[in-house]
Symmetry: none
Subunit: 236 residues, 4 copies
DNA sequence: GATGAATGAGCATTCATTCAT
DNA sequence: TATGAATGAATGCTCATTCAT
């Protein structure tokens, strides 16, 4: 009776297992160094089995990206309906980012994979719409927040919100790329290197650095003459 | 006596020839699609000969990057000794960037290759120092300009100039990546696609877009309360 | 009692369903492009189930061929007991072939699959006898007709009827292979391509071409000095 | 001085060696079972090296076919300029075929590979002209001979020479396919199987069989009422 | 100094077949 | 009886790098 449900559950779990292995490897070696072979080995499956769950490498990578994007989206989406001011939403959006950045690998994954998949395509304006709905939802949400800030007189009314959200996202990408190679020490093993990176991402110094960068961009968005204190990210 | 000099000169020329061929191919196909085979063929040399001049592909790419960085550096370095104010230097630095961006391929090369090489290394804190002196010199110069702006009370005194220069450079990278895929038309051939991109890079719309992005970052750097008009990039 | 019969009936029907799906796919994609996966999907069964009915791909294909051969056989077998002269039987045999060729896909199936299966086995002397009884029955009937024609003084008494029937069958194979790639137009979809081919097989031009080829072979079989008019296929 | 010549010679020899290995394997296992890996192994080279000489598998196979076609062409081309009657040329053409069939593997190769390459394309009317010049030259020559026979009143004036040459070539293909699997014995090894086949191709029985088939087709081409003795292939 | 030749290791993808349930 | 899941073995192809000449 529950047999098909169990099957379905197992299938979903296996899917997740593969995705997790792939994520792990991406963190370990970088997207461009991960092969289907590697993923299969890590997942203790045959290569062919991977293709049972994902029709191709690009699909798998996109799925990974989407999964992480969904995590991010779920993490900050509630903010959008709080009735808060745009700048407050943006501040909390940032806090979400930093939190996830420290506590999970998802932020690293999103931007690393995205950067790889789109290495010869613009980050925004993907060819086929709907292919990466969650990533696009993040972009859309970000743009919405910026527009709200403009509407509320916090951001420069002449600010191009498409450009602005693109800039922000790009900044995230760069922060991720930088963060991904922070530990300069001698990693005993691959596993430990990932662990070191995870630790490093929680370091107050790094977070402060990142926040500074974000702060700069936000200030750049601001309306002329605005009292800067209301942009202060560190403040609650 | 002049024989060894001629040898050396020829060697340098050959080096440059290889680098130029590689550049051309990078523009034509994108960094990740260029193989040593391609470069050798274009340079009308054997693959093995390439290895006589460059110990490996990464070294070759780094050198390419360096060469373009040198061009850029030479282009704006005179500015540094003009005795102008920091912000004026920065404005002219930007103009240099835009000029070169439109007239030569070097800006594309620098950032495309850099982005490729460092896809698993930090843009800033490279492992072995001194490996990319020209790129670092640009970074240094940029940092110097920012420091000067800080000193002159134009930029926020708390601005982390290392971070700031890194941010700027990252922004350049993104602009380049975006610009690289602008022509959405039907390229008849690879050659014509490169040509289309070259044309596109001169388009006022693109330059305006880029300038907006730069402007945002600069505003983000500014000291609180500063009259924004003095940051206006478009102004002379 | 009726239960096991129903079981058996269902089994037979399922078998046929699988065979029909496979046939469809063969027409759609060509024998060499059809995988067990495709067949299973089309039959709305699992791959493993297919193996419950057929011990392997080659057995399945052979069965397909047999089924079509049976259709052909049933179509022309009544002729054999009509008491007609050999040459008249042969003419009607040909008419049967052309009719089936135009109206069903069986002729295409027989010869395409046969050609594929035997690409490394002789068409005639198969290893294990009795493996393809219907195909052999066709060959046998053909041989019988030719022998009758010999007996009736229409065909060369020295004609090797085994060779002759083999030649005829080979000719059919070639006609099928040629016919399979007739529509040079732009097929909107696989389905429409099959439809186009079905239409094309009814075209008078193609039938005339095929008849010419058949006529040539028949003339080659004829007894020396025979009045050719009695070999005229087009005549009733 | 002769160094580059030696290089070139070696290159040509290597090319030939690869082609010969591939031919051997085709005879041994059939075209469809031969992989680039197999060829490399047999040639005692790495797979990559094969790609140094042939840009792809299809190119390699086509080359093999062309080489054999060239052998055939060179073998019978002198006939075309002898001023002989069409039917005499055809007879000698046939003798060329039989001779080569017995003494070399080329006839087997041509028709096996051709049959494979064109498994879903018509034998005649290839897509891109000039891709297989030698094969096309053979077809053309055959058509020319048939036309000459028509002109000389030996063949039916209504004979469609394109169809006729296609039929002949198809017959050759079938003879080859059949001959390729003649030895029904137990081959001790792959090598010995090929050897057995080579022997079998010289057997008078097989040659007689083939000649009969050819004779039938030729008779089918003949003008009505023609004295058959002049078509006798066995006669000088 | 230059190069033709060679290659090992790798990659994404496919497919007939098996087996526990 | 039926199947979901798994896989081993291929397959065509690429590329940075090496080395004898």
């Amino acid at each position: 009776m529950g047999i098909s449900e169990r099957r379905e559950r197992e299938r979903v779990e296996r899917r997740r297992a593969i995705l997790n292995c792939a994520k792990e490897l991406i963190l370990l070696q970088g997207v461009e160094r991960v092969s289907m072979e590697d993923i299969a080995q890590k997942a203790e499956l045959s290569k062919a089995t991977i293709y049972l769950y994902f029709s191709g490498k690009d699909v798998l990578l996109n799925e990974i990206c989407e999964e992480s994007a969904q995590v991010f989206l779920n993490h900050f989406r509630p903010l959008l309906e709080t009735g808060l001011s745009g700048i407050d939403i943006l501040k909390r959006f940032w806090r979400s980012y930093v939190e996830l950045f420290g506590s999970s690998d998802d932020m690293i994954i999103i931007f690393k994979v995205r950067n790889f998949l789109n290495s010869w395509q613009p980050i925004i304006l993907q060819g086929e719409p709907g292919k990466s709905p969650y990533v696009e939802a993040i972009l859309g949400a970000l743009k919405g927040i910026i527009d709200q800030c403009k509407g509320e007189g916090v951001f420069d009314p002449d600010l191009d919100s498409t450009l602005a959200s693109s800039l922000l996202l790009s900044m995230f990408t760069i922060l991720v790329e930088n963060a991904a190679c922070i530990p300069p020490g001698n990693p005993d093993s691959d596993e430990s290197r990932v662990q070191m990176q995870r630790e490093a991402r929680k370091s107050p110094a790094l977070i402060e650095e990142m926040t500074k960068a974000f702060q700069i961009i936000i200030r750049g968005f601001a309306r002329e003459g605005l009292d800067r204190s209301c942009l202060d990210i560190s403040a609650a």
